[in-house]
Structures are given as structure tokens and as C-alpha cells.
Symmetry: C2
Subunit: 312 residues, 2 copies
């Protein structure tokens, strides 16, 4: 589509704005503004790559959250994936589809939220693709990181007898935590330095659902003890007909770490609480097969509830 | 949002489908299905990173193009950016927002197109994020590559006196080439091996617009000779009131390489035509300042026409 002028309010204006942001980072050899970014990769390090897309109306309500918090969330969900590998985040690229009307102001706030979150975790935003369209806001972030010398922690690796442990608490994230959660990057690195993490995942789909993922990848089962699940205050605040436990099991977007360690390491972590204000809990054990919820000594099968994107 | 069942037609069904695709690749240590992908990075190599988002109704018409060609294009536009750095593509991640109704069949065709294009260029699709929503189809691909031992070719580096050269021809891409173009990855590597490429860009916004980008980054000007511009047959086929030359200058999405070399190297490339059926042309010269179109010996200022995303 031919267009005779370079509008200050068009894409190039926005890219200029991005390029004017402070970004002195010796790792970034070529930043935004060329055909690709060029970054120096740590010698000998493998590359962790994750991508997440947020869609207005599905993943957030723009009017409620505001663009700055949406930008923050778009970065933070990717950081949470790097945390789940016990990795270090390095570089991000950002693609956005902006509604045409109000898109410039929206873009600046969105980008501010992205950048603030990136900087807090030492991540350089090295490029992106800015588009306008007649659809709702859509934003996709890809984040590159590297594992530590101890290697990445996968979803597979949990063994029957291992403890199920988690950071923080669960349920009711829709009341605010789904936007303002703190990705557990530093916490994962600390844990990885202290003990052998057999398997780990960040809880995005829901505690029950993500426990299923760990079990499926590890080829084992699990027993969650209802009384041991740390339930967030927000899980009690809902006025629907679900119990706080149901919220904790199924709400999702808690972005806490769920992981497997030996009972010995688990006892040590529980006693030492090495993450300070981020509380570690012992939720149950991995077993040979099945996924169970145990309450007052009674086991019942745990349905893998949680958020599933439906396609028809 | 709690959901009591893992539907075979939901997100996990699609991820399973992706994971069943053949992907034996020794560089991919952990593929789709964990919190991040893990890839072995070539020792000592810098990392090229590019991302592009395609939006239904803005970047393509789904009913006209079909999902397989849209998937192909989403990969190919990123390959074209790696080509513009004379780099080698390695790994891709893909985020999609799928319309809820018909999304499963759409996703499979989209993914097939992505995968076919990736495989043709030795790219491993290592992960992604699949979402459904009530909006139109949106797809974002991030591609990682590495420069050759000669380093990446940037937009800056053109010098007054350099020749302006290009692969292929220009204009009328909307009639089909914008979907079916061949990313000039191999061509760029061949050129980079033969001569010193001072600066390079892939023509996505439009020949005039992208020449402006080269000039701006290089701090110089350029003179395009109208009679030397290779005009595509498709640029003659339009029934609007623009001339074929106007189409060649402004249409965009040609995805040809536009680059700067010394006159000596230019003459050599023009004589040798090392790219076989992909014709190299000499379009003009870089100069001190201004961007000009010369026709029958007369110079006029060339407006930087081309596609600009407008924001309000």
C-alpha cells in the first residue's frame, strides 16, 4: 500500500521512540532498527527459547488492566517460563498488533510496562514488529535465556517418592495476581543452587493441570494433600460457588513454581525456607500412577482442571 | 477459567499434533512441550533474532490466501530478514491466536505451511504458544539465526559512489508474490561469499522506502535510475491509475535484496550473474545526500513511498 509520507505518528515514529530509550548493553551488538537484532551469545551456553502471546478479551481486559500492566504481564509470563527451567533470561523481542485508534498512546504505555519488567530482570529488548489493524490488541513476546551450569530443569524427572513442593500460594489470581505476579526467576536459581530439582513447571494452567503435566512428562503419578495446599487469600474472596480449594486447584495464572525433590532435600528446604518472604510448601508426593487428591486420609481422583483453549 | 476436561480438540490436542511431527534434529535438546525449548548454540556464534507478526485483514486475506500460504508467509518474512543480514537461519518459535470456530483445521494447515517452509530452509520449529479467541487470525514468528564468519551485513555501511544493486524484480506483489516469494537466504550467502556487501536490506516496505532506510542508516543519499529498475510483470497487470514504475517503487512486499557494493564488485556481479535465475540488477548509485529518481537524465526528489502502519 503506497503512502507518500513518513508520519510521525506511524510505525517509524514508534520505532524511533523505542530506539531513543536507554539500552546501553554490551551484549547487544545491533539493537532495534536493522533487519534483525544481533546479540553476543554466552560462550558454550545452550539457548532457552520461549514465546507467549496475550490477546485482548481472552488473556486480559484492556480497560480494566491498563496497557502498562498488560505490557508487564506479556514480559512476565515469559520470564516465568525461563524461571521454570531455572534459567537466566537475556534478550526479548516483542510483536504487537495495535488497534488503529489510540494506538500510539497505547503502544507507549504498553512498551513502558514491558521495558520496566525487562529491566528489573536484566533483559534487553532487542527488537520487535509493530503493526496496526482493526482488531483488538495482541502482543507476543519471545524471550531468550540460558541454563546455569547445572543445566535446565525439565518437566520430566520427577520420581515416585519425591516430594511435591511449590513457592507461594494458589487461587484467585484473577483478582490481581495474574497481572502483578513476580516471576520466580531468582527463586528458581536459588533453589537450583541448593538442591537437585528433579522436575519443575510454572503454574499457569492451574495447580491440578500443571501437576498433570509434570506427571505425564515424568511417567509417574502424584498425591496432593488438600490440607497442605497453600491457598491464597484471594481464593477466599470470590463470591461464586467454588470453594477456596477449588480455586487453588483450578484457577491458574498463579505463576508459582511447582517442583519435585527428594524427601531429604524437601525437608531441608522446608526447614531453611531459603526464599525469605516467598514461602516454600510441601504439597504431597509423587507416586507410581494416578493423580489424587487426599483429604482427611481419603483419596479421590483429581480431575485435571484448569484453563484449556478450546478450538472447534 | 476452570475446565474439567482435556479436550482432544483443545490446545493440548494441537500441541500433541505438533509434537508428533518429525523433528529429529540433534541441535534441538528439548523441543515443544516443556516450559521453554532448549537448543545447542553454535560455539562462538553471535545470535541474529527477528520477529514478524501477520494479522488477518491487514497483512493477508485468509479466505483468499488460505491458511497454508499464510503459514508459509509467516515463516518466509522472517527468513527474508535473516537473509538481509546474510545470515543462516536455525530455529523458530510460533505464536498464534486462532479464531475459535474452525480453529483446529485452520491451525493444522497453518502449521503445515510454516513447517514446509521451515524445513526447506533447515529451520527447526522448537516451540510456540497456541491460543484461541474471538478475534481474527494472528500469527507471530520469531526466528533465530547466526551470521557467517564474515559477520552480519547491516543497513548502515553504504558509501557515496557505491552501486545500488538488487535481486529479482519489483512491483505488483499483491497479485501473488507477497505470499509465494522465495526468501533470498541462499542468494545472500552466495553474494556475501563473493564480494564485500557494504549494506543490505530486504524490500518489504517498498523499494523507495527501503532505499530511504539504507540511506538514513548509512548517512548518505542515493540516485535511482528509473530505466534501470527491474519491473515485475505483475506491476503491469494492475488496472489502477498508477504506472508500472510507481508500483515497482511503492508496492512493497517484494522481499528482494537491495544492497550496496563498490562499482568494481558491482560490475563483477552484473557480468557473472552468480545467482542463476535470480537476476542481479544495477539500479543506481549512492551519493552524498538526498534520494533521487533519475529519468532521461533529469533528477527529481523521490518520495519515500511505501507501506506505513498508521496509528492515531
Amino acid at each position: 500500500m503506497p503512502d507518500p509520507e513518513l508520519s510521525a505518528s506511524g510505525e517509524f515514529g514508534f520505532i524511533d521512540w523505542v530506539r531513543r530509550q536507554p539500552a546501553a548493553d554490551a551484549r547487544v551488538l545491533v539493537g532495534p532498527g536493522d533487519d534483525t537484532a544481533v546479540v553476543a551469545w554466552p560462550a558454550g551456553a545452550d539457548c532457552l527459547v520461549t514465546t507467549d502471546m496475550l490477546l485482548e478479551g481472552s488473556c486480559f481486559l484492556l480497560a480494566e488492566a491498563g496497557p502498562r500492566r498488560v505490557g508487564r504481564k506479556a514480559m512476565a509470563v515469559n520470564l516465568s517460563d525461563i524461571a521454570a527451567m531455572a534459567g537466566r533470561p537475556h534478550f526479548a523481542v516483542v510483536s504487537v498488533g495495535l488497534p488503529r485508534r489510540g494506538g500510539r498512546a497505547l503502544a507507549e504505555e504498553l512498551y513502558r510496562g514491558l521495558r520496566e519488567c525487562a529491566e528489573a530482570f536484566g533483559v534487553a529488548v532487542i527488537g520487535g514488529d509493530t503493526n496496526s489493524w482493526d482488531g483488538p490488541l495482541t502482543i507476543s513476546v519471545t524471550l531468550l535465556g540460558s541454563p546455569t551450569g547445572r543445566g535446565p530443569v525439565l518437566r520430566r524427572g520427577a520420581r515416585p517418592g519425591d516430594w511435591i513442593m511449590a513457592t507461594g500460594d494458589f487461587g484467585g489470581s484473577i483478582l490481581g495476581k495474574h497481572l502483578d505476579f513476580m516471576p520466580r526467576v531468582q527463586e528458581a536459581l536459588t533453589l537450583h543452587g541448593l538442591v537437585e530439582l528433579h522436575a519443575m513447571i510454572d503454574v499457569s494452567d492451574g495447580l491440578a493441570q500443571d501437576l498433570y503435566h509434570l506427571c505425564r512428562e515424568s511417567g509417574c503419578g502424584a498425591v496432593l494433600r488438600a490440607e497442605s495446599i497453600p491457598i491464597a487469600a484471594a481464593a477466599h474472596a470470590s463470591s461464586d460457588n467454588q470453594s477456596p480449594l477449588d480455586h487453588a486447584l483450578g484457577d491458574g495464572e498463579d505463576f508459582e513454581l511447582l517442583f519435585a525433590v527428594t524427601p531429604e532435600d524437601g525437608r531441608r528446604l522446608l526447614a531453611e525456607q531459603p526464599l525469605g518472604s516467598v514461602r516454600l510448601s510441601h504439597l504431597g508426593e509423587f507416586v507410581d500412577r494416578g493423580v489424587w487428591l487426599e483429604s482427611a486420609g481419603q483419596r479421590q481422583e483429581l480431575p485435571p482442571r484448569g484453563y484449556v483453549h478450546r478450538l472447534e
